[in-house]
Symmetry: C2
Subunit: 212 residues, 2 copies
């Protein structure tokens, strides 16, 4: 019942992701999205009301996807340290699967969230909240030292986004023999996990030291 009705909006969203990621909201062209989605331009305005509404729908879906994956990790019964490792790996996987996600997030932050409605903002705010929960758990169990949630979040997320989104620039810089900026995704994730462990590690080296 009505399964085909979804294929058009979904193809539009997929095409929109590529276009908005590559050019930003202002630079994106509805004609190009239509062509890539192999639908008529009028269909975009039929399914979504405007370019802006299409953009919002895309962002809601993106943040929801990320949040779902992170909440999965947070809900597991792994140790806090293992959860942090998994959060880093999960974020890296997500940006690996959805190659356009980093650019969209970068642009949205640069825009100051000007086009985010309340629901989308809530979905975005849920991301640092998940990380905060894991850190809090680690602190309670004595494995982590306390750090501000938003700091832990940015220390984790920002380098991953930068690393992925900067791939074209790094490749060009390396090709021009300016500096060698190569680093495999696997090595990067490994170093990120080590870094987060070091950032969050409690004062003492012993895994479970009594607090008092």
């Amino acid at each position: 019942m009505g399964r085909k009705a979804r294929v058009s909006p979904d193809r539009i969203l997929a095409a929109a992701e590529v276009e908005f990621a590559a050019r930003g909201f202002a630079g994106a062209r509805v004609d190009r999205i239509a062509r890539r989605a192999r639908v008529n331009k009028a269909m975009i305005y039929y399914h979504f009301r405007s370019k802006q509404e299409l953009y919002r729908a895309l962002l809601r879906r993106m943040f929801q996807t990320i949040g779902d994956r992170l909440r999965e990790v947070a809900a597991s019964d792994d140790s806090p340290a293992a959860k942090i490792d998994r959060v880093v790996a999960t974020l890296a996987e997500l940006v690996g699967e959805h190659a356009h996600l980093p650019a969209v997030m970068l642009r949205e932050i640069a825009d100051g969230g000007a086009r985010l409605d309340r629901d989308t903002l809530a979905a975005l705010a849920a991301l640092p909240a998940v990380v905060a929960g894991i850190v809090q758990q680690g602190v309670t169990e004595g494995a982590f030292r306390p750090v501000p949630p938003i700091f832990a979040y940015f220390a984790m997320v920002a380098p991953i986004i930068f690393y992925r989104a900067s791939a074209p620039i790094r490749a060009e810089v390396t090709d021009l023999h300016l500096v060698d900026l190569r680093l495999t995704p696997e090595a990067f994730v490994h170093h990120m996990q080590e870094a987060q462990r070091r950032i969050l590690a409690g004062a003492g080296p012993s895994p479970s030291r009594p607090t008092s």
Copy 2:
């Protein structure tokens, strides 16, 4: 002799920085830049050849400024650990002084460096090179463990840029009582310095341990 001749281009660049940071290249309007710079629009095309050339001139100047400040730190005779602290503080200062710098960098990365000419690319590539030099010095002196230069660079720069550029979104999220994402710049810098020290710290806790 001819000092006044510079005031117009400089005012244009200053206005362009605001406009490009807030709206991106595609979203920026030459008319708005002209109005903000209090010059006639035709003057922009007289001093710079096009919107694109104006944008490039702006980026060159930005990366040059950052590079100069970082090279100053690298050239000092501080210890590598102290230099890392100063690099973090310097970057934080820079984005504090030039509030529009983070957004421009975010957008340029998202664009994949599409509008960077070779000179600008070289000025950008010099940034991780400076950090790499400091890390290398620390490794040689036995104070740091070896990490890939581009990793050390992103771990340092990405959170700072994100933190600054996300200020409007964080404020809105906090105001809507979704989550409390407040964190003072001073506290943020302090935590960043601590984090970088932990990431780079050599295996042993002793400051100057003989290598062999």
